[in-house]
Amino acid sequence: MVAQSSFFDWLNHHLFTCPFKAHFGIDCPGCGFQRSVIALLKGNFLESLKLYPATIPFLFVIIFMLVHLRYDFKFGAQIIKITVATIAVIILINYIYKIYTHQLII
């Protein structure tokens, strides 16, 4: 447990800094993704969804793409297309919601 928590501490202190946020002080559409992945690694699905709702579908589409390229599903390309379009819509809605509720500066 100690090793696990220290690993997450290390991870929390070694995230890539968003250049947009560093310059303008405003979240970019991708901000929250790394924190969300860490929350997901801890097993905290709700926190991951709150931080960045597109993380779970994005990780799903990455894994599904690798499996699809290996085993060649019949409707694999169709599923990837629909999921990517959904991710784009989720990112846009999330960003507009963040602007609307003044969450961009934390």
Binding site: C18, P19, F20, F24, I26, C28, P29, G30, C31, F33, F58, V61, I62, M65, L69, D72, G76, A77, Q78, I80, K81, V84, A85, I87, A88, I91, L92, I99, H102, L104, I105
Partner: protein, 155 residues
Amino acid sequence: MSEEQENPQENQPINLNKSETPAGNTGNTGFATPPPFQQAPPFGQFGGGMGHQNLPNATAALVLGIIAIPACCFYGIFGLIFGIIAWILGAGDMKKYELNPTFYTESSYKNAKAGKICGMIATILSLVFIVLVILVIMGAITHPAAYDEFFKGIH
């Protein structure tokens, strides 16, 4: 011993091919000239060339198209580059498939199409973000008070 064992294994498929081709010709007596590419498949390694070759850039287009979606957060530049590359690769492979549909596999065509569409989505997303960046910079320069009010919620 090993050479003697390998030799009949190598000879058997050749004999089978020789026996198959006359049988195929006698069976197709109704057709005067069968298409030549059916008898001489260019990719014998996979057991016959008809539609067994994947499009060259389908996988690359698909991977780039998906990677371009999260790459839009670095000012949108990487997302734009990856998205446009995926779009071009996917569209080029779709053209290749439409020129010669029997030569390539249909699944790789679907992958190329998906890569093209993912690239288009990523390009549009990145463009929206770039427009937003420009608007934010313009707003911060021209109307600092309104900028603070809009984004920080200071009233």
